[in-house]
Symmetry: C2
Subunit: 332 residues, 2 copies
């Protein structure tokens, strides 16, 4: 059977473009024992994928040139030679960017969705939600009455971090790049205030005004100059979980900025990078809590759904220009 | 009774000079009940004092213009109206830079020295030793076989950090600014290797060569470019206790350098500033351990003693040009 795949054609310098991807038709191999053929339904695109397009090591090994990219996928089994899966089963796993793929049955898990839309299992109930929950709870350790600032607040992780911080009775300030997202975060997701960094000339002053008691936790998805502004407002014993640095992923030189060490030193503060897999042992309890909050209506979420498998590269590129609200997902 | 005091004459811009200090004669007030008059014997000078010479808040409130500086002092009671102290008692406390001073008895503690020289109670058995022990053990959390890098290795804190790391069976690399200190650290204090940053042109390469397994803990007393070199070699799950940034204390502009966030992020690493008082509840156990190691000969220490009370400003300035090995102490 033939299928379409999207491969990494070349490694980007700076901001990736469509030129770095190539779509091609391949013939899928015959199924071997314990293998299944999966048709993709939903594909997750995530900022961390930018790092995998580079040669150097990032969180995870780089994508290979002329090989399909890969990421979180929800799919449907169309043929099976596994005794674990039968035709029609809905599954989830880290799979290649192919319309259909052949994989070993230990690469996928059955997905018995109790929540809809099903794409939530790639987002608020997937790595995104776990990242938000575990980064905030394990590194941020929010206490009632504290002030929490979240950058990339309208992104997949940020939108969850802000809501959990509110559930923990914190004062929550988001930083976002659009008025529309800012309004949505306040009206629908309970953020106390949102600063639009694109229309704010003096970010430090804006952060200071929004955080009259200073910043106790800065959950950073973005980095760069807007983080400098937040850092200038941190309190003694502040915690800064570093979840992403999306503003820096496409820089071609080593990014330079004010050194954070003097601030961390004089304010006895902690800055810690993490990847969700650092907390793998805590996934079950985190998933249970997130599912419970979602069921109770205490946690809300939204996806940006892009339609059509060929849109995968465009959807990924859109993350770097802020085109998504919440999770960016491609529906095949 | 008259005495001499050294006051802050003006706040320095950049590197402080003798002009920022003034020596003057004052008349001590009569003793009130529960007060004692203390004659200073040993005065501690410490890098953190530079921060207190500025107007802005640092760890601790700034020194006041036209008022004496203050710091750790060992002294002898010469007159007492306290029932806690009698003439001749040896005491320790945070006291003004005065040859003699009048203080409330709750500002000092009796010092029953069991270790000599007595100046060690301002250094390896004082704040210096506690800082080294608690920063390394609480933030660094060394494990046998790990690689520990210490900057300012020949300074008061660094010399202790390196030895504790060796006691914890780590591979220990010091960074220092003189060949003499480098040799001493290796020959006398058990460092595996010492990099002289003043004679090394490619610091990253030197760190990489000295740390073939990468850097697990970087105990940073210095900051600036030499820290950039160490940071480029950190391992996944590295810990960076920030104890000082002496290379930056005298800068007049906000210091700029490569951003550390991308490194901390992709290597799931932790950077944490601290001041020893963050761990006040652990002082007794830390003191007990340090005293035990010292008694067993497992921990060695050295002071640089400067003679004469009027030398206090020069001794403090000497910290910023690396004139001390181990603790810089002024003997009155």
């Amino acid at each position: 059977m033939n299928t379409t795949q999207i491969v990494l054609a070349s490694r980007p310098t700076g901001m990736p473009t469509q030129e770095n991807f190539r779509s091609e038709t391949i013939t899928l191999p015959d199924l071997q024992p314990a293998e299944v053929m999966v048709q993709g339904l939903y594909y997750s695109v995530d900022p961390y994928m930018r790092g995998r397009m580079n040669e150097g090591k990032s969180y995870v090994p780089p994508f290979k040139i002329d090989c399909p990219l890969e990421g979180g996928v929800i799919g449907k089994v169309i043929t099976s030679r596994s005794d674990q899966f039968k035709k029609g089963d809905i599954v989830i796993g880290n799979l290649p960017w192919q319309e259909a793929c052949v994989v070993a049955d230990n690469k996928i898990k059955p997905l018995h969705a109790t929540v809809s839309p099903i794409s939530f299992y790639l987002s608020v109930l997937g790595m995104t939600g776990l990242t938000a929950y575990l980064g905030l709870m394990q590194i941020g350790v929010p206490k009632a009455g504290e002030t929490v600032v979240v950058s990339g607040a309208g992104g997949a992780v940020g939108i969850v971090v802000g809501q959990i911080a509110k559930l923990k009775e914190c004062h929550v300030i988001g930083i976002s790049g659009s008025e529309e997202k800012a309004n949505l975060l306040k009206a629908q997701f309970g953020f106390d205030e949102v600063i639009n960094y694109k229309t704010t000339s003096k970010m430090s002053e804006a952060v200071r005004a929004a955080c009259p008691k200073g910043v106790d936790i800065y959950f950073d998805n973005v980095g760069g100059e807007l983080s400098d502004a937040v850092m200038s407002c941190i309190n003694k014993h502040a915690r800064i979980p570093l979840c992403g640095q999306i503003s820096l992923y496409n820089t071609t030189q080593i990014p330079v900025g004010p050194r954070v060490q003097p601030l961390l030193l004089t304010r006895s503060s902690l800055m810690q990078g993490f990847i969700v897999s650092d907390y793998e042992t805590l996934f079950p309890e985190a998933s249970t809590q997130l599912t419970k909050w979602l069921a109770e209506g205490k946690l809300k979420f939204t996806d940006t759904i892009v339609h059509g498998f060929p849109q995968l590269p465009a959807a990924l590129l859109g993350l770097f220009t802020g085109e998504n609200t919440g999770k960016m997902v491609v529906r095949a």
